[in-house]
């Protein structure tokens, strides 16, 4: 049997850190050690920040975003354009769009995509709530879903569900990335770029 090298508290910290995405047992050990060594300026503030976040964390009842206020900061922001809803699969996608600062509208987080193989149907996603939201003053729903088989088939399904409301539905353009050279693009991306060409 392996000998114990540290107390159970530290062992537990390592185990929990190892569950974080991107961290394995080795990097969890490294992270734990960094925290322990920097008790005052890292471990304690982090621990306080985490318990405060855990205490106040709310699911936004409107869009499905995570925040410490409900409705979330984005949904409560009066300066945002209330005629547009951008639909994303995950909160990470919302964050990515916010980071880019290109969306002034509201969001709707589906919480994944339709995948019969994984037992995920419309009831497991926030699709019914989106249908309820897609009414005036909303005039456009932008489906910013992944360009995967599941993302595309989910977009198709959502579009059909909203169709009756009369709200315009748009999807993200697929094609040449900004700063991209044509020569390096795969055939599928090139074909998508040609299909979605526009007059200059």
């Amino acid at each position: 049997m392996a000998r114990k090298t540290q107390g159970p508290e530290i062992e537990r910290l390592i185990q929990l850190l190892a569950r974080m995405p991107g961290l394995g047992p080795r990097s969890a050990r490294k992270a734990a050690l960094a925290l322990l060594k920097r008790r005052a300026d890292l471990l304690e503030p982090l621990s306080r920040a985490m318990s405060e976040a855990a205490e106040r964390l709310r699911d936004c009842p409107v869009c499905g975003n995570l925040d410490t206020v409900a409705p979330c900061t984005i949904c409560s922001d009066e300066r945002r354009d209330r005629t547009m809803i951008v639909v994303v699969e995950e909160i990470g996608d919302l964050w990515a769009l916010e980071r880019a600062g290109v969306v002034n509208g509201l969001y709707h987080v589906l919480g994944g995509h339709l995948s019969p193989l994984d037992g995920i149907g419309p009831d497991q996603l926030a699709i019914p709530r989106l249908v309820e939201r897609a009414v005036p003053p909303v005039t456009e729903v932008l489906l910013a879903l992944n360009a995967t088989v599941e993302g595309q088939s989910t977009a198709h399904y959502v579009r059909e569900q909203i169709a009756a409301s009369g709200v315009a539905v748009s999807v993200l353009q697929q094609g040449v990335p900004v700063g991209g050279e044509l020569d390096y693009l795969d055939d599928g991306t090139l074909a998508a770029a040609i299909r979605s060409r526009r007059p200059l």
Binding site: G24, L114, S115, P116, L117, G121, P122, V149, E150, Q152, S153, T154, A155, H156, Y157, E160, Q161, D186, D187, G188, A191
Partner: protein, 393 residues
């Protein structure tokens, strides 16, 4: 294109193997079980895909080895040498996802697909002898492999089609009747399915053209010309000249109207995953599967050579690498000599294996002979050839 250097590390039975080669055909001779086909398999992993045995990557690890395998090669191309490295390192955290490491000139790639536009290869194995008599799936896979030489995105689209089909099959199985749930997936199926069928139609048309040119050039070739036809609703529509968008719409409708039928069958019954490549013995005007074993082999060789020539034509003369396992086995002296002549004419660095070096006698001065033993590999004295020495007659 040709391989000037090949290094295997802990690959199957080879602990370490290093070959320095010139552009001539390579003959690997050795006893049964010496690991000749393993060398071909290693070479096949320099191209996109799972290799010629389609083995799971962990299976390639040498038993007594350090627990991983690697194949490194220098590929000589028109644009200069390219270093390709591929392998499996189980200690890396991403190894569990089942992919292999691929590097081109030292740069890590996201998958073997990056090799598709770079290395072209065609192979013939004893296990393909039953291609014409076996299940349609084998012929479809054979054809899709040929398509990959012209359309690097073919494998990706096939993957998307299969994924969408599995999702749809699950909906059928779960008894879902909400048509909207099917339509999203069926759109993906129609779009990718028609693209797959179109790539097949284009490839077959190219090969047919090349078969005709070969027949006109050598009407008495010992490799009879093959009559090719694609069996499949999408392929038939496209061959008839219907616009792809119309074929897509028709396939969509047929998927929608076929849902109950598919539900009863438990799977999607219509689509490019059910197509077949129908091959006939041209001169005799009969189905390939009705020909003799030797004739089937000759037909298959003719088909592979036509494809190789078509690839060479697209690459302005740069012939693909041919991997021909135990090729001499079913061929009489005349066909063997004709095959070697074809290889020389094509200018391909063909890799041939056999138990008996005598079978390759006709190639004596035009090939590099490498004896393979289970405990390693040796090189017989090979007359030095300058790299630009060409093989044309």
């Amino acid at each position: 294109m040709w391989i000037s250097r090949l290094v295997l590390t802990d690959f199957r039975n080879h602990a370490r193997l290093e070959l320095n080669l010139d552009r001539r055909p390579v003959v690997l001779a050795g006893a049964n079980g010496a690991g000749k086909t393993n060398v071909l398999e290693a070479v096949s992993l320099l191209a996109a895909g799972q290799g010629l045995r389609r083995a799971a990557y962990p299976e390639l690890i040498r038993r007594a080895g350090a627990g991983g395998w690697a194949v490194a090669a220098t590929l000589e191309t028109d644009a200069g040498p390219v270093e390709i490295g591929t392998g499996l390192d189980p200690s890396r955290p991403d190894a569990a996802r089942g992919g292999r490491i691929v590097r081109i000139n030292g740069e890590p790639q996201s998958g073997s697909g990056a090799l598709a536009g770079l290395v072209e290869m065609a192979w013939l194995l004893p296990s393909m002898d039953g291609l014409f008599t076996g299940p349609a799936g084998d012929r479809r896979r054979f054809l899709d492999r040929l398509v990959l030489g012209f359309d690097a995105g073919h494998a990706m689209r096939a993957g998307q089609f299969e994924r969408a089909m599995r999702q749809r099959n699950r909906l059928l199985e779960d008894g879902v009747r909400d048509a909207a749930r099917f339509r999203g997936l069926e759109h993906v199926l129609a779009e990718t399915g028609v693209a797959l069928a179109a790539a097949r139609v284009a490839t077959v048309a190219g090969i047919v053209r090349m078969i005709e040119a070969r027949h006109a050039r050598t009407p008495d070739s010992p490799f009879p010309w093959a009559a090719l036809a694609l069996e499949g609703a999408l392929e038939a529509d496209l061959t008839a000249g219907r616009p792809a968008v119309d074929v897509e719409d028709r396939y969509l409708e047929s998927l929608a109207s076929g849902r109950e039928r598919d539900r009863a069958a438990g799977r999607t019954l219509e689509g490019p995953h059910r197509s077949d490549l129908v091959v006939g013995h041209g001169p005799k005007g009969m189905p390939a599967d009705a020909s003799s074993t030797g004739e089937q082999k000759a037909l298959l060789i003719g088909l592979v050579l036509a494809h190789a020539e078509l690839l060479a034509e697209r690459r302005s003369g740069a012939a693909p690498i041919l991997l021909l396992d135990e090729i001499a086995a079913h061929l009489d002296v005349r066909r063997r000599a004709a095959l070697f002549r074809e290889i020389r004419l094509l200018g391909s660095q063909a890799w041939l294996t056999g138990t008996d070096p005598i079978a390759f006698e006709a190639l004596l001065n035009d090939a590099q002979f490498i004896p393979v033993r289970d405990d390693g590999i040796g090189r017989q004295a090979v007359s030095p050839h300058p790299a630009d020495d060409d093989l044309s007659i």
